[in-house]
Subunit: 471 residues, 2 copies
């Protein structure tokens, strides 16, 4: 393995070149006019798998149509080795990216899709370009790891499967069905690894949890039509006001959920878990400043991190009324959209029913004869992996080899739906980020430092090495 | 006078014809492409004043420019007589109308600007067309009254001034300044009469009050940018939620204002006033049904009417966030727009300051370090006329002559800004409606019954007659 790690440094220029070629294809999945570029990027990945000697490369391009009429971009399934004596690792990446225009504030280049190397004080060389850290850097990193091992004459320690999709940033249509039905995921997969998130700070980490999601709509309907607020104001119970009373009843002054039935579903924090949080390097105050927040809830590092990862939160996303925005009208109907980020053991359907019951009960106590409708838009359970699995132990050992520190065990406050899809196959799923927290994924000046990119490739080599030895 | 009233019936066909000619000019003031039609309607009114023998007709067309670059449509000032022994009455009408398209639901004609006579069960002939009741019917009614008096050889009992504007439905730009500066309104005006509102039900009324208005914006600003609700949810105090907490603090569960300092400004109801309310023919339940309301606040007829005219009400008009509507984002900034309908003795600036102080105090009690901004958009005092003035007594006597009943003394829940403008000159202002409540002003199928139109013309004749005798 040592030789393979050395080869990563020797081949560094080739690897940056490969990332440059990948970034150059503007595979923006939610811009309809970029559809051909997305498909071209899929072909690029498939060809790369062939070039790296995959035993089989399958380009799945019959996944159905998108709402806009285009076919779902192909999912590339590649496989190296099928030795029954070895574990089989399935790694995931996505080759699509978010939109990017230089006007959004890209400071280092004239074209966000043209990778730029820039020396930054105290960091070294940074690679700027859309997709550099999300997720072309990590995805192509796996091919770089293969190349380094092949150059070093190192045998593949595992059977390796790779799945690359082109629709992650726009809804991952087709992935759920593909994973649950295709033999590629059913046969000989022992564990999954996803590299599609980031370090919490400047410290390597392994991610074992993600919050889930429960999106809801609440609508109050009153009079048959919008009303003149002069003629009718004071006579009807304003649907707008009732929506506000309902929303207000969900949280306390600080914005924390107060519905007892909902809170009772939240798993109790264990001592072991608390130790994981205490070990994490995180300074709430500097994080607050860097994030542009006027304040931050939570009394301590552990409290802040638990609020972020370990407890549910409620956000109001918008309110829409039947009346035009700037008219002095009483709206006949008003809808609010809000969501709850879920944690174990909350079930989205159960959380929805409990909040619905609370809203209905509260609404029944209000005067008037307006109508209440509560509906759910989308739900997903929280993801928590078994971090005692040898998948995590291997990642842990790899971090120690490459970075010479104990990795932090992190969660994320958001969700990566494919994690749950993989977990539903019954296999262990580990999230192994290589990009730093300041990579500006989805924003302008997206980047990965050259050091993180190369160390990430080494991490993948070491991870496979340790998986190969794991029982 | 009797002969003049008879002449109204004899000239009925001519009067309907005049209204048809007026309706045919599509003088929609808030459609920029109709500007020439609006000006043509102004010229039509000016010519009509000359045809009816006005001593002077002034077309004021140098009132400045609208925001869209067009000149403000002309205000027509006409005068009949200047006998120092007579009272001088100034009547007001507007010759512009709201937009109308047959697709909006006009059922009786192919063109809303082509007056249609239709026999309706239990009502008789109804005149359908945009402007028929708001406000071309009443405005042209004054010219019809003049024509009837002239045909009957009846001397004009008052010096008559007429002001007709073409911008009432779109902001009345220029009127405030014109009334406060032009000699036409300063010299020899003893009282004003406005016919631009409607009966409460099927019963003639005189209107002495209108609610005022205080529009406000409240904005809570939090983090520097919109935030991912997964990553930041639970850590920041959501500006959306704080706006909701602030709005919720303004009213009780029924939606009635609860800020003591604001309520203490509301004038106490006198016994005399209460008697006026008790005399009004009004059935809350049938009004509720006809208005398409699921419920109505108020325990009795008087309570309902007072809620509509005599007490302030608060309406939320809209909430806007810095985040896109359907994204799972915590908005960095959220603004709500709401208004309070004012009654005597509320002052808009004072009401604003009191609500602002309440919001600031409440906000200070909330956790977090977000910022609050409260601003006022537009304010107008409530209008209440002295209904003991001989202006009202004359209107009262005229109603008895024409309809053989005691008129109801009504207010309106909304505002007609020009009423306050006239009142600010120090003269008495009376609102004398002739259209019934179901005339659908601003909506499709706008109409005035032929009976109401002709009786309204008679009302104007009788009103001037009684004013002529008043001390």
């Amino acid at each position: 393995m040592e030789r393979a790690l050395e080869m990563v440094d020797e081949l560094a220029a080739d690897f940056v070149h490969l990332l440059r070629d990948g970034v150059r294809i503007p595979s923006v999945s939610n811009e309809i006019e970029r559809h051909d570029d997305v498909c071209a990027m899929g072909a690029f990945v498939a060809q790369l798998a062939r070039d790296r000697g995959a035993d089989s490369v399958l380009v799945v391009d019959d996944l159905g149509k998108l709402e806009n009429g285009n076919p779902i971009p192909p999912v590339v399934l590649a496989q190296w080795g099928s030795d029954p004596a070895k574990h089989t690792l399935c790694v995931y990446g996505h080759y699509d990216v978010m939109p990017a225009a230089v006007e959004d504030g890209w400071e280092h280049q004239a074209d966000p899709f043209e990778l730029v190397e820039k020396d930054m004080d105290g960091i070294g060389t940074v690679l700027f370009g859309r997709g550099s850290t999300d997720d072309k850097g990590p995805l192509l990193g796996w091919f770089c790891a293969l190349q380094a091992m092949q150059a070093a004459g190192m045998a593949l320690p595992v059977n390796l499967k790779l799945v690359a999709e082109g629709r992650e940033e726009a809804g991952s249509e087709g992935m759920d069905k593909l994973v649950s039905t295709h033999p590629f995921f059913k046969e000989n997969v022992d564990m999954f690894c996803i590299s599609d998130n980031y370090w919490l700070g400047g410290f390597p980490c392994i991610t074992y949890g993600l919050r889930g999601f429960c999106g809801m709509n609440v609508t109050v309907t009153g009079p048959e039509r919008n009303l003149h607020s002069g003629i009718f104001g004071g006579l009807v119970v304003d649907p707008y006001l009732q929506v506000i009373q309902l929303l207000q009843s969900l949280t306390d002054a600080q914005g924390d959920i107060v519905i007892p039935s909902v809170l009772e579903d939240v798993q109790e924090v264990t001592d072991e878990e608390r130790e994981l949080y205490e070990a994490i390097h995180f300074d709430p105050e500097s994080w607050r400043r860097e994030s542009g927040l006027p304040h931050i809830k939570g009394d301590s590092k552990v409290d802040v991190l638990m609020r972020r990862w370990r407890f549910p939160s409620l956000t109001i996303h918008g309110i829409e009324a039947s009346s035009p925005m700037n008219a002095t009208i009483i709206a006949s109907s008003v809808s609010a959209r809000f969501s709850v980020r879920l944690v174990p053991d909350m079930d989205p359907a159960v959380t929805f029913e409990k909040i619905k019951a609370h809203l209905e009960q509260h609404f029944a106590s209000l005067p008037g004869k307006n109508r209440l409708d509560v509906s759910m838009t989308y739900g997903a359970r929280a993801f928590v992996s078994d971090w005692h699995h040898y998948n995590f132990a291997s990642a842990h050992a790899a971090v120690k080899d490459v970075y010479h520190v104990e990795p932090e065990m992190t969660r994320e406050g958001g969700s990566i739906p494919v994690s749950l899809v993989f977990q539903n196959t019954g296999r262990n799923v580990c999230l192994l980020p290589i990009g730093d927290f300041d990579g500006n994924a989805h924003g302008p000046n997206e980047n990965i430092s050259k050091k993180n990119f190369l160390q990430g490739i080494k991490l993948f080599v070491a991870y496979m090495h340790h998986l190969g030895k794991a029982q």
